[in-house]
């Protein structure tokens, strides 16, 4: 039985449809990340699961029961908000107690739960402080603690790390991952940060314009992107995209000529417009010219320590290549760039869909 199920879920504001019929299954104990650019409908979807937004059409189930009309409090969910939504006039302890109040638990049970969660999250010393006296990371943990004391069936996170600085973000990310390993509770997590998504998720749901573009493990969305959007959205720097045509069993792209890898042979039609996709680490510098190389000019080099990024110009095409930093060419150098046939992705230009089988 799935923890959360969405079937053709639609959200409309007046006449404007912002989520266009989403289907999604979140398994028990799974960590699912909704990932996408801002305005893609991921937060709206999360808020529908929370019950903060109505579902305009379709079915939303939690724990097997349809909950479209169920009040947030009866859905067994707890939510961590983007700006933490801590009550500034309450201490850390009061913040956590307040979220338990509607459950009408006995006082000693409330205290037990709060203390337990506080010690789990390392908040024991901070219980009598107010949010204003806490650091960003501490506030983040209080927000999580407030959700945890309710022992929900599902945790909902709405961009919980977006207000932290880069270093803290890494640290808290790790804490969330550890917590999930320990508690094993189902998590639905919204972010626009692909690193967060890749590191945390069991399953990533990539959204755009109110549609789901791909659902898969981090490995799947990285190495087998369904379409050009996913291909360019995941991975940094993004995948190089080159418009091309199939000519006599080869890929011809404005001065660039590549042989078609065997695995694509059956699916391509002569003169089909395709888009070649190759990640920067699929490009390398070659000594010899063969049928998978092209001449290019180095425009800029970006030194990253172990690697370097080369901004290349090959005819009309701008490419980014990731090469070992040691022995990298200087800007202005004329080089031969090699396309690794195993790293090649092909997309149908008209539909944007991947041509991989």
């Amino acid at each position: 039985m799935s923890a959360i199920t969405l079937r053709n879920v639609i959200k409309r504001y007046g006449a404007v449809e912002v989520v266009h019929g989403i289907d999604l299954d979140v398994e028990e104990g799974e960590f699912v990340v909704l990932l996408g650019p801002s305005g893609c409908g991921k937060t709206t979807t999360l808020r529908m699961v929370a019950g903060l937004e109505d579902v305009s059409d379709g079915d939303l189930s939690i724990g097997g029961a349809r909950v479209n009309e169920v009040a947030p409090k009866d859905r067994g969910v707890a939510m961590v908000f983007q700006n933490y939504a801590l009550y500034p006039h309450m201490t850390v302890r009061q913040n956590m107690e307040f979220s338990l109040k509607p459950l009408s638990l006995p006082a000693d049970e409330v205290a037990r739960r709060v203390d337990e969660v506080a010690s789990t999250l390392g908040l024991a010393e901070l219980l009598s402080r107010r949010p204003a006296q806490l650091s960003g990371g501490q506030r983040q943990r209080v927000a999580m603690g407030r959700a945890m004391v309710r022992t929900p069936d599902v945790f909902l996170f709405d961009e919980p790390l977006s207000n932290l600085d880069a270093k803290l973000r890494t640290q808290v990310r790790l804490e969330i991952a550890k917590l999930h390993n320990r508690l094993g509770t189902t998590v639905l997590y919204v972010t626009h940060d692909q690193v967060e998504a890749m590191t945390l998720a069991d399953k990533i749901v990539i959204m755009r314009d109110g549609h789901i573009e791909q659902v898969g493990t981090p490995e799947q969305v990285y190495s087998q992107p369904n379409n050009t959007f996913v291909a360019t959205f995941i991975g940094s720097p993004p995948m190089n995209m080159i418009p091309a045509r199939v000519r006599q069993g080869r890929l011809e792209a404005d001065g660039l000529l590549l042989s078609v890898p065997d695995r694509f042979k059956g699916v391509l039609a002569e003169d089909q417009a395709v888009t070649i996709g190759i990640r920067p680490n699929g490009l390398s510098l070659a000594k010899d010219v063969d049928h998978n190389t092209a001449p290019a000019r180095v425009e800029v080099t970006e030194y990253l320590g172990n690697e370097a990024l080369l901004d290349l110009r090959a005819g009309p095409h701008e490419l980014i290549a990731e090469v070992p930093a040691l022995g990298r060419p200087a800007p202005g150098a004329e080089v031969t760039v090699h396309f690794d046939p195993d790293a090649l992705h092909l997309f149908d230009t008209a539909s944007g869909d991947s041509l991989s089988l």
Binding site: A50, G51, L52, A71, P72, K73, D74, V77, A78, M79, F81, Q82, N83, A85, L86, Y87, P88, H89, F98, S99, L100, K101, P102, L103, R146, R150
Partner: protein, 274 residues
């Protein structure tokens, strides 16, 4: 803006000094005249050093029931404040949270209630209160002042409620709190400064008001400003007593300015600044 030079500082202090003298002189006159013996009241140059007397205050409270007028003022001001802040706040909360295109019209209508000249409605009030037997009672003034104070509270509190992040209320809602609980435990405490500002303004307005108090009260429910004014006509200009009464009346306003200046400024300028 960076720090002014010494020359500029001297100019600033000189101009401000003049302004302070001009603006503070009348207040100094109220205070000093209230303890100045009548014979030297208008002495020239003004007597700066003299033996202060409490005669005027004694007159005020012994020869006339000024204590009763102060009590009336307090009852009316406190009554109208509590009444207006309560109903004004909950209305402001509704206006702040209901997103409806007609809501602005409702808000504007409420605000416009403050803009009508009091004299235009004083006759109907007089006749209505006379009909229902509330003339010359504190209740009449409490009702009338609330007509001005509720819009003020709505206006101020809406601003404060708008600033309470809705995520806080949503967090409470996800946890299962109902609206009343959310409003009472989360939103209202966070808008507490607004409540204080609203209460102060309602109190000061009611405490200071003159026209309605003059027209709608007699010997029973008369408020302090009306009483002080009546000294003017009845007592052949007892300036000492008038100044003593004036001083008593201006105490709350001055105390509020000195203690919560920051909040008052914020409250008063909320609609016009930003």
């Amino acid at each position: 803006m960076n720090k002014p030079s010494t020359q500029q500082a001297i100019l600033v202090y000189t101009l401000l000094g003049i302004a302070l003298i001009v603006f503070m002189t009348p207040i100094y006159l109220i205070v000093s005249s209230s303890v100045k013996p009548s014979p030297i009241m208008f002495q020239r140059p003004p007597a700066m050093i003299f033996e202060p007397t409490l005669d005027h205050y004694r007159d005020l409270f012994a020869m006339r029931p000024f204590g009763k007028f102060i009590a009336n003022s307090l009852i009316v001001a406190l009554g109208s404040t509590v009444f207006s802040v309560f109903f004004g706040s909950i209305a402001a909360y509704a206006i702040s949270r209901i997103k409806h295109k007609r809501m602005n019209d409702v808000a504007f209508w409420i605000l416009s209630m403050r803009m009508f000249p009091p004299i235009a409605v004083v006759v109907p009030y007089y006749i209505i209160f006379k009909t229902v037997g509330l003339l010359d009672t504190p209740i009449a003034l409490i009702i009338v002042y609330s007509t001005a104070n509720i819009p003020l509270t709505v206006w101020l509190m809406k601003g404060f409620f708008d600033e309470v992040p809705t995520a806080l209320e949503e967090a409470a809602a996800v946890d299962g709190h109902g609206l009343i609980s959310i409003f009472w435990k989360v939103t209202l405490p966070l808008a507490a400064p607004g409540l204080a500002v609203s209460a102060v303004f309602c109190f000061i307005f009611s405490w200071n008001e003159f026209l309605f108090a003059l027209m709608l009260t007699g010997s029973n429910a008369q408020t302090a400003p009306v009483a002080v004014m009546s000294f003017w006509s009845s007592d052949a200009v007892q300036w000492g007593r008038i100044m003593a009464g004036s001083f008593v009346i201006l105490i709350p306003g001055v105390v509020f300015v000195l203690t919560c200046q920051r909040w008052l400024v914020r409250g008063l300028t909320m609609g016009s600044v930003k």
